[in-house]
Symmetry: C2
Subunit: 195 residues, 2 copies
DNA sequence: TTGTGAGTATACCGACCGGTGTGTTTACCT
DNA sequence: AGGTAAACACACCGGTCGGTATACTCACAA
């Protein structure tokens, strides 16, 4: 575990993380062995364990990285607008784009939460934190609109957001994000917001 | 695979299925080995393979059984009401009760979908079918209310339903079902339904 | 009474799992 | 020229995976 948070990854470590992220996401964390990761990254297992220390840590790095990428994307989309209503609607547009681009296997955090049943696994915390952060984002945005009961509105939007991912991925609702966006508008109006 | 759909399970097979269902749900399908299932059921592996043929089939039996239990529960709650609006709201009450009682690890179908990455695994179909059935239920109930655009309303309610499960389980929204129920009422009114 | 189905016990299979140890090569920095 | 970090190759560890084989006991029913 020579790898700390600040100093950058070595080239091989970066390759390992990229490959592992792809494999863990598309085939599942428990299904993918370290030997396969090493092979696909053109690296020996030794190198992986020298850089990451354990599979658990590699999994955490994968989840953190993916969380960060999504969060950066979402934040940039939200901050592109001033009006709080537009900011809320932008989250659903961002979700739709993201799902079209790189979510063909559903939410990585929800999947990891399902796979990592051991309550001690630090990967669970990463997933929980991501969801809590999303909830708080919606609660803050709801408050900015001056809605009546912004807490309930924020929670509702967060649930709609999560439901759109499952709806798109498992249920097969093709336009899930757009439908959720429309619903968000209706919910805003129901909470006394001009939308 | 002597076990077909109609003839009842032998006592040992019933025990195996019960134990496997509990273990698969709480610890995850890939995490639980057949040896553990055998041990916990007080049965030898031989017996399991004589009755179920393979782990894959045991997993499918688990998913089907759980799906059936949930579906029976939900259906009974819906059919207890005449008014379509009451029927819709009843689904969220049912969900809340179910989650309090036996959903401390989230939706078994969504979890299985995350774990079973092999697209050929028949367990995936069970999960997909359950989600599609839920979507169709909401679409039919929405149509019964005479709502404008019952398709979109139904899809929205289905997503809200799924989001409540994730919200409750991962995000930690304690009253997720109640919040979703309130949101469903608002969405109904937004679609021109008296609710 | 003689099968037959259900279940038991135990040993085994090849494959793979996460992880470690030893020693070597490469490349850059001073 | 010497030092150091990174990556290499390769062999190995104990343990578990899903699944199979053999042989035995028991209850019940024709």
């Amino acid at each position: 575990m020579r790898t700390t948070e600040r100093n950058p990854l070595t080239p091989a470590a970066r390759r390992v993380l990229a490959v592992a992220s792809e494999l863990f996401y598309t085939r599942g964390i428990n299904t993918v062995g370290m030997e396969l990761v090493a092979e696909e990254a053109g690296v020996t297992k030794k190198t992986i364990y020298d850089r990451f220390g354990s599979k658990q840590r590699l999994v955490v790095a994968y989840l953190r990285g993916r969380d960060e990428r999504w969060n950066d994307f979402l934040t940039s989309r939200v901050e592109a607008h001033e009006d709080p209503v537009a900011r809320i609607l932008a989250t659903f547009d961002a979700l739709g784009e993201w799902m079209d681009r790189e979510n063909e296997r559903g939410c990585a955090m929800v999947n990891a939460y399902a796979e990592l049943s051991d309550p001690e696994h630090p990967g669970r915390t990463v997933a929980e934190e991501q969801k809590v952060r999303l909830r708080e984002l919606y609660r803050e945005l709801a408050a900015e609109t001056g809605a009546t009961d912004p807490g309930a509105l924020g929670d509702t939007l967060a649930m709609l957001h999560e439901g759109a991912v499952v709806g798109r991925n498992v249920t097969g609702i093709a336009d899930a994000a757009a439908t959720a966006r429309n619903a968000a508008g209706a919910l805003l109006r129901a909470h006394g917001v001009d939308a």
